[in-house]
Every structure is written in C-alpha cells, then in structure tokens.
C-alpha cells in the first residue's frame, strides 16, 4: 500500500509517516496541495491513501481534495483530512468536497489506525 502525506509541518509528516510506515505503507510526502498534485502526477499509479492537512501555504487541503476529486484517474485514492480544524461545519465541508475520513489533531497512532481500519485500508489488519 502507498500513501501520500500532505502537510506543511515536517514534524507532522514524520509522525504520520512513522505510523503509516509501521502499518506497512510506502510513503511519499508533500508540503502543500500543489506539490502534492505534482507528486501524484509523478507516480505511475495512484496511491491508496492521501492524508491531507487543511491549512497549508500555496494550496490548502480543501482545494487539493477538490482538485483530486475532479480527476477520474485518481478516483481510487482515499482522502483523509488530518487537521486541527475541529468545527462541525468544517468537517461537513471536507466531506462534501470529497474527503472520505477526517481525523482531528492531536491524535494517537491508534486513532489513526482505527480510521484506516474503518476505511478498509489497514494492511496488517485486525486487532487494533
């Protein structure tokens, strides 16, 4: 399984990268939405998962998700918003834009794995 982590914080990319890496994912990273679109275009086939921060410079996570959902060839990518934005209407907006899941920062590794389990994206599955 492969995942793209889109976050402008290097520390956060490392944390998420470690959780997903331990779960058996191959990781690509991007520091904003625009860079992430370029990363996706550079990959031979789309990754299974993208973890996307909301607030980033250049292109934010909501715009990135909207852009990804416009492209039929990327329809198979599961999009999970991972953000400090915790207002109910924000979550609704992200889901309406095409996010499949929403994880609020701060979170534990277990919480992230449980979300992946819900999405059927836990390679080393069961027993979280």
């Amino acid at each position: 399984m492969r995942a793209v982590i889109v976050d402008d914080s290097r520390a956060m990319r490392r944390i998420v990268g470690r959780i997903l890496g331990d779960a058996g994912y191959e990781i690509s990273e991007a520091g904003d939405g625009l860079e992430a679109l370029a990363v996706l275009e550079g990959l031979e086939s789309p990754p299974e998962l993208a973890c996307v921060d909301w607030n980033m410079p250049v292109m934010d996570g909501l715009t990135f998700i909207t852009e990804v959902r416009k492209r039929p060839e990327w329809r198979s990518i599961t999009l999970m918003m991972v953000t400090t934005e915790s207002e109910q209407d924000r979550i609704v907006r992200a889901l309406a834009a095409g996010a499949h899941e929403y994880l609020i920062k701060p979170f534990t590794g277990e919480a992230m794995l449980e979300k992946l389990d819900l999405l059927g994206l836990l390679p080393t599955s069961t027993g979280v």
């Binding site: 109910q88 979550i91 992200a94 889901l95 449980e114």
Partner: protein, 278 residues
C-alpha cells in the same frame, strides 16, 4: 483487591520510564484493572504476584505489554468494528424476521463511558430492517462515575477521534464547547443502571442481544461460570451474546455454542439447553 504499594511503585516507575506518563497515587484501581487480564493470562492469582514475577524476570516483551495496557486509554466507538458489522448485517436482520412486536432489547453489560451502548444504537439506526422499530438498550456498569459520564454523553476531541466515522460524527453529535455531545435522540434510547455482574441480577426483562465484551477476562473461573449462567436467565432463548475476541464460553459454560457472524462470532444458547432456561 487492591494492588500493593510495592507493585504499584514498580509499575509506576516502569510506565514513567517507557512512556513519560505519570500514574499518580490514586490510580491504583486503574493499574489493577488493566493488569488483571495480563496476570491471569500469565497464570498468576493476582496482580501483586504477577508484578513481583515481572520485576524479577524483566522480560522485555512482558514489560512492553504492561506499558501498553496502561497507556492505551480511551474506549473506542465501534470497538473492534467486526461485532457491529455482524449486528447490522446478520443479527439485527435475523431478529427483525422473528420479533412480531417490532421491539429489540439489548443489554450492554460493562458500558464504561458509554461508547458501546451508543454505538449499538447508531448501528441499529443504520440497519434498514429496523426502520421504525423500537430499540431499547440497557447499559450497566459497576462504576457510578463511569455511569454519570456515560449518561452525559459528552466526549473529548481525543475520544471522538477513536473509531468514529466522520460521517457518523457529524450526523449524531454536536459540538459543545471543546467537546462533542451525542444527540438527545440517541441518549434517550439508552437506560444506564448500576450493576454488579458478580451478584444475582435485578429484574431487567428479557434481552435479544447481550454485549459482554472484555469483562469475563477480569473474573476467575467460578465467577465467569456464574456470570454466563445469569446471562442465560435474562436472554431470549434465541438471543445472541457477544464476548470479547479473547474470550470464550468453552470449558466455562457449555450451554453455549459459538456461531460465526460475519468476520466475528456470536454465542447462542444450545438448542437442547433452551428449554431449561427458567
């Protein structure tokens, strides 16, 4: 049964060194309750004996297990997901065919802070076969403090992150300051009651489904046997019992049989035992 001072001090130092989490004095109950399953699995009569042995041997794998048992904290929504999938896909549809009064009663036997009974209600609401049915959940726990929390139905950000699908969260919860509160319509379907599983049960009516997950592990064999027998007395003869993944009735109370239900399994009273139920 409370953990001894020496054992507590050992565990506290271990957890502090490995996870930076400090177990304050007063957390003895937490340490005890989290370590009982490990002690039993390792064949020790109580937590003190287990910790004494642990501090002598210092097996890295065992030490890690203890740290994990004390640092993985909150209960999840739809914990282990499989039982809830089984409820929605097989148990509820089967009951919908046989209950002419269009009512299903469920008992959640160790509800802790309420995630399990509320997850059951949300699952029932997502089951098309139960549209328009009356679903009653009785949720019990030994701790009054937990029951108060559960009744309030208010959860922190960290707690709603745990296993709750985002679509479910926006549908069934409302922001309340920094926390999230489960909607009144769901809270109203759960009746919370104090109950000690090791004592004879008060009148509770009859249940179609019983959730008793990760509870039996805390009891010794005779108590497990008593508890399972009492469950039979309040369960409909064709009812369904959910236990934790690591628990089973085999060798404890053979009136039960294990039946596959989706990726999970459920326990049912054996046909020939059903008539014996008073």
């Amino acid at each position: 049964m409370t953990i001894g001072t020496q054992a507590f001090a050992f565990v506290r130092e271990l957890v502090r060194a490995e996870s930076a989490i400090v177990l304050e004095t007063g957390k003895e109950y937490l340490v005890e309750s989290r370590l009982v399953p490990l002690a039993r699995a390792a064949g020790h009569p109580d937590v003190d004996a287990y910790v004494a042995d642990l501090s002598k041997r210092r097996t890295p794998a065992a030490l890690k297990q203890v740290v994990e048992a004390l640092t993985t904290n909150e209960t999840s929504w739809f914990r282990d997901s499989d039982p809830f999938t089984a409820l929605r896909q097989s148990v509820f549809p089967a009951l919908a065919k046989t209950r002419s009064n269009r009512t299903i009663r469920i008992w959640a036997g160790a509800c802790s802070s309420g995630q399990e009974p509320y997850s059951i209600v949300m699952t029932a609401l997502d089951t098309p076969e139960l549209a328009g049915w009356r679903v009653e959940v009785v949720a019990t726990d030994l701790s009054d403090e937990m029951l108060d929390r559960a009744r309030k139905g208010e959860y922190s950000q960290l707690e709603v992150n745990r296993g709750l699908p985002a679509t479910t969260m926006v549908r069934h919860f409302e922001r309340s300051g920094l926390s999230w509160r489960i909607n009144q319509s769901i809270r109203d379907r759960v009746e919370f009651r104090h109950l000690n599983l090791t004592r004879p049960l008060p009148p509770m009516g009859r249940f179609d489904v019983v959730f008793l997950r990760n509870v039996l592990i805390y009891f010794d064999l005779p108590t497990k046997r008593d508890v399972l027998k009492r469950v039979r007395q309040v369960m409909a003869p064709d009812g369904h019992l959910f236990l934790g993944a690591a628990e089973m009735t085999m060798g404890v109370d053979d009136a039960w049989e294990r039946v596959p239900a989706g990726r999970s399994s459920v326990y049912r009273i054996r046909e020939e035992q059903r008539t014996c139920v008073p």
